[in-house]
Structures are given as structure tokens and as C-alpha cells.
Symmetry: C2
């Protein structure tokens, strides 16, 4: 009986993770920074992207991938109206984007002309946190009317973030939201997380986010 | 060669659906009406349950099953403080409750003493819609600051509802929310859906919901 050599695979990547690595490599090779933008339904994802485009459009070209569970182009239409290329991905009822959908989305964007890709994930605080798309940063938009207990209730998504936006701060006078309690929960899960309280309605706080983002794009392009 | 009779199963239920049927039977046998309460994170699920308890506690006994993705008892503690029995279910990061979790929850409640069970599902507009728990009604809480486009973007959950609550109407002066556009979307997906605009903060609209619910409980108990 002859000896049989059993091949040992050091690390098993899932199909999703393999594809995510490829997506990230493609983006990095093209010097395109990519952000996976997550939030609850109605936290203001599209408004935040539009505000970011408005502030950056004279310096950078931004592509947007819009994930939706239904075949509606409400969000993608707004991006295109703002003068930037956008792709709509219908997940067919699925609760998150994955790296294959991301790859299909990237294939529709003019990669050689872009500086930044923003991926608007499906509105959901749970499932998107478990899927690497191949972006460079995970960003969450929390919003004031959702309440100050969300980090305590949805800890997984907070643990994996590089950027946190706290949107709709203009509504603070009208709802119960203890900023200290909210930020204490975040700090416990993700110490030192880059956090920007903003209002996409009044423009408050957007400057600080834009200064930070421009710096990140420049460092990335020169790396 | 003898003839072989192949058994034909008319309808194949999934394990979840079988368990859901059992849950519903248990509830019905005990004359306990059960509501599956779904919403985005931060739409006001717990506040709405507390308001409902406050209005009904002199007439009915209400048990609550709290679904959370993390081992926090923030919500269940509030229900118990309001004098009603509550069970906390930690889904272990999972994005929805299922009929097995529901069954485990029901086993912890004093079924023979209850008139109503409210199940607070995980905050999520997508996944909970696909899982029958064995309740009698599906209820969704939409909230004004989430925006008026949600029926268009998350149609599946709207299609399966018996009750829609539109919460936080007190915030209408401070956000863009076209009630006509929102309700047009709902009507398209679920014509004639019982809909109650409310504010759990100011109490506006709660009366109409309570009158409707009391009638449903009475009809159910006498059926």
C-alpha cells in the first residue's frame, strides 16, 4: 500500500472572502478607495452620500453602488442626477450585499476614472456586518431618532467599523437621545473609533468628515 | 414485480412552518391572541408595547417575548417594570426570530393567565418577514424619521402585514415625510391595511389603536 499525501490547505476562505480579496485588489490596483456604508433603513445613507459628493465633486470622482432588496432605482437616480456614475444592485429580497454582487457592481463602473467608491449596503444593522465586500473601510450611519441604545443592542456591527457617522443631530431637541450613553457604548465595543456627528439637513458637522475623508483618500493614493 | 405505492405528501412544510402551526394552535387553544411586532431598529417597538400595556393593563394580561441579537435585557426589564411577564430571547447574532425560539419563549409564559402575547422581533425590515412564528397578526411599526420611501424599498414586509403603525408623527414638522406618498406605497402593496398614525411620545393616535385592538381581542376570545 502506497503512502497517500493529503494536501493541507492552511486557511480556508469562503467563496465570499476569496471574491472580497479580489475586489479589494482590483480597487487598490486602480488606487480607488472603497467604503462599505451600512445603516438601519432611513438613517440617511443616500442623503449622506449626496452631501459627500457635493463637497468632493470638484476634487474627486466618486462611483456609487446602490444595494436594494427591491428593483427600485430611487437612490441610484439621485446619484446620477448629482453627476456621478451609479450602479443599482437588486438583491432579490436578500438582506445584505455580498462580494459577488460587489464584483458585478464594480464591473459596471469606470474604475480607471474613479478616486472613491461608496457602496450603499441594504438597510440592516445585522446581516451586512457578516459579509466582507472587499472595500477598505466599513462605515456605519447611526441616527439620533433611532435612540441611544443601539450600540448595546447591535454590538457586532459596531465592532467591525472604521468610521461612525451620527446623523440627524438637528433632531436632538425633539427626541430622547443621550449622546454620552451612546458614545460610551461605542467606546466599549470599538475604542477610539473615528466618529462624526452630523446633520445632512443643516450641514452641521459635515466639514470635519470631509477634511478627514480627503486626507484618507490622499494618503491612500500616495501609498 | 409487485407494484410499489409511493406515498404522496400533499404539502411539504418546513420545520419552521410546522413549529409555527403548533405555536398558533397552543395560543388559540388558550384563547391568547398573539402579535408579531416588527420594525427597523429604533422605530419605537418597546415604547409602543409599553404604551399598549399602559392602556390595556386594567382589562387584559399581556405577555411579551423580546428578541435581541445580543444578550441584553434592556427591553425585557422595561416590560417587567410595567408589571407584565416578559421573556428575553438572545438570537446569538441571528437576524430574526423563528418558530423554535417562539416556542421556547411561549414555554416561559403563563399561557393560562394571558389574553395577549406581543412578540418584539429583532429590529430588521427584511429577514423577519420571511419567518412565520405562529402568531395571529403581523404588525409593522414604521416611523416618520425613517422617511416616506420605505414601502417602495422594503415591499416584502409590507405585503405580509395585518396592522401598520406609523410612529413618531410628532416629528413630522422637523423632517421631510410626505404622508400621502408613504400611504400610496402601502396601499399598492397591501390594499385596505389597518393603519394607525401615532406618537408614543405625545400619545397622539394611541386611542384609535387601542379601540381597534380591544375589539380584536374580544372577537378572538369569543370565536
Amino acid at each position: 500500500m502506497s503512502a497517500i499525501r493529503v494536501p493541507v490547505v492552511e486557511k480556508i476562505f469562503s467563496a465570499n472572502d476569496r471574491m472580497a480579496v479580489q475586489n479589494r485588489q482590483l480597487l487598490t490596483n486602480n488606487k480607488v478607495l472603497a467604503i462599505n456604508l451600512m445603516a438601519s433603513p432611513g438613517a440617511g445613507k443616500t442623503s449622506f452620500i449626496l452631501e459627500t459628493i457635493k463637497q468632493l465633486s470638484n476634487q474627486f470622482k466618486i462611483g456609487v453602488i446602490e444595494g436594494d432588496t427591491a428593483p427600485v432605482t430611487i437612490d441610484a437616480d439621485k446619484i446620477i442626477s448629482a453627476g456621478m456614475p451609479a450602479v443599482q444592485i437588486n438583491t432579490g429580497g436578500n438582506c445584505h450585499l455580498d462580494a459577488v454582487m460587489m464584483s458585478d457592481g464594480l464591473a459596471q463602473l469606470p474604475m480607471d476614472k474613479l478616486d472613491l467608491v461608496i457602496v450603499e449596503n441594504v438597510g440592516n444593522l445585522i446581516c451586512p456586518a457578516a459579509w466582507d465586500l472587499g472595500t477598505h473601510f466599513n462605515l456605519l450611519i447611526a441616527s439620533v431618532p433611532e435612540g441611544d441604545d443601539k450600540p448595546y443592542k447591535y454590538p457586532n456591527i459596531y465592532r467591525g467599523l472604521e468610521i461612525l457617522i451620527i446623523n440627524k443631530v438637528d433632531l436632538q431637541p425633539y427626541v430622547e437621545f443621550k449622546m454620552d450613553y451612546f458614545r460610551k457604548g461605542v467606546e466599549m465595543l470599538n475604542p477610539g473609533l473615528a466618529t462624526f456627528p452630523v446633520s445632512c439637513k443643516t450641514g452641521e458637522g459635515i466639514d470635519a468628515w470631509i477634511v478627514w475623508l480627503i486626507e484618507k483618500i490622499k494618503v491612500f493614493k500616495n501609498s
